[in-house]
């Protein structure tokens, strides 16, 4: 089993390397030129060339890639081209903001989703199951920007319960922070809860059809105990998988939500960086997103390996 996990970790690292190469190649394809973006319309060819040399843009691509990768691994994310500050100083506070919002949403949505999924599975085909499925489908089909705007319309414009702008600043109290971020978090919860709930339901249902669940019922166990003791441990792997997938989405897929609520997170930061052609910022942000995605999915896979009794207790 250790071997399998090590293999999975190695695969994760390889994936990250591939991602880094893709990101680097992708940013090379971005239209426009940083030097001309910085110097503006009136730059002379000489000053452009000088700036390019200064920024290291005249070196061959593979050289720039390896020096960038080396810097990234050692924690040096490079300098922002636009305002000449270290990328790390700009990026990590925003990443912290994104993580905080994701954590807020996840803490609410994961337990709700798993509980609703379990409840729907136990009452398969009943009114509750059908009702919750329709609601879930509706939320899955609504795009998040539309959902976010609806929430703003009702909760802040109509009833004035919550602020429509998620303005956060350092030193704000936890209560204020919660109030400011509740609307974006709520949007994210509504978008993710439906999928997690449906997957939990499916995973538990497929286990509920197994002979050993019948055995448990024939022992005279009540439904609650059958589900929690006999079904859930065997459905854990797919549930962990979809939860990890959704948390990864909470971190990496927030661009739109951050834009709607003007939240100072990594997604909005990256969009701004693309507009400014600030390649080191774009690369670093993309790399952080990629890493979050790969790490969470690796954790899910490793959890699935660790939860498998056949692998945990070989013959």
């Amino acid at each position: 089993m250790i071997q399998l996990i090590l293999k999975r970790v190695a695969l994760g690292i390889l994936t990250l390397l591939l991602v880094s190469a893709l990101i680097f190649a992708g940013t090379q394809l971005l239209p426009g030129d940083v030097a001309s973006a910085i110097l503006g319309q009136n730059a002379t060819p000489e000053s452009l060339a000088a700036l390019r040399q200064d920024l290291g843009l005249d070196l061959p691509a593979w050289q720039r890639y390896f020096s960038w990768l080396h810097g990234f691994v050692t924690g040096d994310l490079g300098m922002s081209l636009a305002n000449r500050q270290p990328v790390a100083d700009l990026l990590w506070p925003r990443f912290g903001n994104t993580m905080a919002l994701a954590a807020y949403a996840a803490i609410v949505s994961v337990p709700i989703a798993v509980l609703l999924g379990l409840a729907a599975a136990v009452r398969r085909g009943g009114v509750f199951d059908r009702g919750i499925n329709i609601v879930a489908l509706a939320f899955v089909s609504l795009p998040e920007y539309f959902l976010g705007l609806l929430l703003i319309l009702f909760l802040s414009v109509q009833f004035n319960l919550l602020p429509s702008l998620a303005d956060t600043y350092s030193g704000m109290s936890f209560g204020d922070w919660l109030r400011a971020t509740t609307l974006p978090a709520l949007t994210l919860v509504l978008v993710t809860v439906a999928q997690m709930m449906r997957m939990t339901r499916t995973a538990v249902l497929s286990v509920m059809d197994q002979a050993y669940v019948e055995t448990a019922f024939l022992k005279g166990l009540r439904t609650k105990r059958v589900v929690l003791r006999h079904a859930l441990p065997n459905a854990a792997a797919p549930i962990v998988n979809v939860v990890a997938f959704n948390i990864a989405y909470l971190i990496t897929g927030v661009v739109l939500v951050e834009a709607i609520f003007n939240y100072n997170g990594l997604g909005r930061f990256m969009v701004d960086a693309v507009a400014k052609r600030d390649l080191p910022l774009v690369q670093a942000a993309a790399m952080v997103f990629g890493a979050a995605y790969v790490i969470l999915n690796s954790i899910a896979d490793i959890a699935a390996i660790a939860l498998n009794p056949r692998l945990r207790h070989p013959r």
């Binding site: 002979a211 024939l218 005279g220 166990l221 006999h230 441990p233 056949r310």
Partner: protein, 535 residues
């Protein structure tokens, strides 16, 4: 003495409203074992589960009364039934491998019922578990419970399932084909242990099986079921020795094995298949070890052995599905390549396979006509009218009506599906058909018809069969020669009549004597003989 279980007028309906069990009355006295006998679909498992107030897969109990020790299951609410289940009436399933939770230690699952129902405290439950594991002769009973289901063998798991059912010392135990999934040599052990356990704790039992000979060893009374209705009921002696109904007589006759005649000394052709010195591996595990045998034109060679003996592997090697690592397989004098991928289409055509499970061997989206017509197109390039003619000729040959050509496999019974599989093999006009446990998944009477069909096809078409089976009764009636395998090696081979006559090879003798016989004292005789032999 009053009954522990009384059922009156039981009716169970499938979700679509069809009655699976229709008006069954049943009584069970303390310590009594009632055998429920019938083919699949007879409703025997449904009755066993209904006795626990349980309907499988959406089946509902729609009529009748069920009383356990004076408590009515149907009048009570859900909680009443839950209190009874496991505590006073417990269930042993056919496949313990599926019935044990793979994520929980065996010991935990055994004591769960007793603790949950509050029958014992942890200490008492553990002590009782240990006693049960010892009684059931499980290896290292002290530590056996610490293992997970996938870590023990099928026979051990089946015994552990019995221990799990006995956890609350129930009055009644429902045994649903508890030995059917086991090899004959393992079956006899489990059967003997079950019987002594039931006697020792004076437990009543419903013993559900399709095998009359098995139930003959353990039941006091027998109830024969068909299509959800009772055919007849009586003491075990009466039902087995003087059955009153035709259907029961047929079942008994089938089990005595006198429906298909003996194989006479037939005229055989020259050698068709020659296997010499074949070795094969799954990864690094040897699965075929120096196998040599041959098969003549028009001959039936049976390959027998327990699961894991390599008999199906031999078939796969001959068909080229599992490439051999050493040795030679030649067919009609010409050497066959070790993998089917590099054999010619003609070589492929002449060897066809029929599988154990007709349900999964047929594409559910193709009609019977398309399934049978496919080899004609593939091997002979037949189309349209000639193909249709050939399909209808084959349907005739296998005894299915013409309109079956347009049906999908889902609309066919198990026996009909197996006939279609045979027709598909015949469509290639093969010389050799490899039959891999072709009757194991079928009910006895249906299996009998398939065997008759195979036999008449052989006479008509001069086919050779490589017949892989664990059913020695089939072998005796069908095979000219027999090959006995154990752990990938050939134990012995020779004319069937010689193999099954003393002096036996010790392993063959174990196999032969392990096959249950209809005599009620069979189990005792065999056990006594074995004790003598080891003493």
């Amino acid at each position: 003495m009053s009954n522990v279980l009384t059922i009156r007028g039981l009716k169970v309906a499938a979700p679509n409203g069809n009655l699976l069990v229709d008006g069954i009355d049943l009584d069970l006295a303390p310590g009594e074992v009632l055998g429920l006998i019938g083919e699949s679909g007879a409703g025997k498992s449904t009755i066993g589960l209904a006795a626990m107030g349980y309907g499988r897969g959406g089946c509902r109990i729609v009529g009748g009364t069920i009383e356990i020790g004076g408590t009515s299951l149907m009048e009570g609410n859900r909680a009443t039934r839950e209190k009874m289940r496991g505590a006073r009436i417990a269930y042993v399933a056919q496949s313990a491998a599926a019935a044990f939770n793979p994520a929980i230690r065996i010991g935990e699952q055994i004591v769960e019922g007793a603790l949950y129902h509050g029958k014992m405290n942890r200490q008492e439950a553990e002590a009782w578990k240990l006693e049960l594991l010892k009684t059931l002769q499980l290896p290292n009973p002290e530590t056996f419970g610490e293992r997970y289901p996938h870590q023990v063998s099928g026979g051990q798991l089946q015994r552990a399932m019995v221990a799990m059912a006995m956890s609350c010392r129930p009055d009644i135990i429902v045994l649903d084909e508890p030995t059917t999934a086991l090899d004959v040599t393992t079956q006899i052990e489990v059967l003997a242990l079950l019987r002594s356990l039931i006697q020792r704790y004076n437990t009543s039992a419903l013993y559900i099986t399709h095998d009359l000979a098995v139930v003959a060893q353990i039941a006091n009374r027998i109830m024969v079921l068909r299509h959800g209705k009772m055919v007849e009921e009586g003491t075990a002696e009466q039902v087995l020795e003087t059955p009153r109904q035709d259907y029961t007589r047929m079942l008994v006759a089938e089990r005595q094995g006198n429906l298909v005649g003996e194989t006479a000394n037939r005229q055989l052709g020259d050698v068709l298949l020659d296997v010499s010195g074949v070795h094969a591996y799954y990864g690094k595990t040897p699965v075929l070890d120096d196998i040599s045998c041959n098969l003549r034109r028009g001959e039936t060679l049976a390959v027998v052995g327990e699961s894991g003996s390599g008999k199906s592997t031999l078939a796969r090697a001959i068909a080229g599905l599992l490439p051999t690592s050493a040795g030679m397989i030649s067919f009609d004098g010409r050497r066959l390549d070790r993998s089917y991928k590099s054999r010619s289409r003609e070589e492929l055509r002449r060897i066809q396979l029929v599988y154990q499970l007709p349900d999964v061997a047929l594409n559910p989206r193709q009609t019977v006509g398309e399934i049978i017509g496919r080899p004609m197109k593939f091997y002979f390039g037949m189309h349209d009218v000639p193909k249709q003619k050939e399909v209808s000729r084959l349907l005739d040959l296998i005894g299915l009506p013409q309109d079956f050509a347009s049906r999908l496999p889902g609309a066919l019974s198990g026996g009909q599906k197996q006939r279609v599989c045979i027709a598909r093999a015949l469509a290639a006009k093969p010389d050799l058909i490899i039959c891999d446990e072709v009757t194991s998944a079928l009910d006895p009477l249906v299996a009998e018809d398939i065997l008759k069909l195979l036999k008449s096809l052989q006479q008509e078409l001069g086919l050779s069969y490589l017949f892989i089976t664990h059913d020695l009764g089939v072998v005796r009636r069908l095979a000219d020669r027999t090959l006995v395998m154990q752990r990938g090696k050939i134990v012995e081979q020779g004319p069937t009549a010689e193999i099954f006559q003393p002096p036996f090879h010790p392993y063959t003798e174990e196999l032969v004597t392990s096959v249950p016989e209809l005599r009620r004292d069979w189990l005792d005789t065999v056990l006594a003989k074995r004790q003598q032999a080891t003493a």
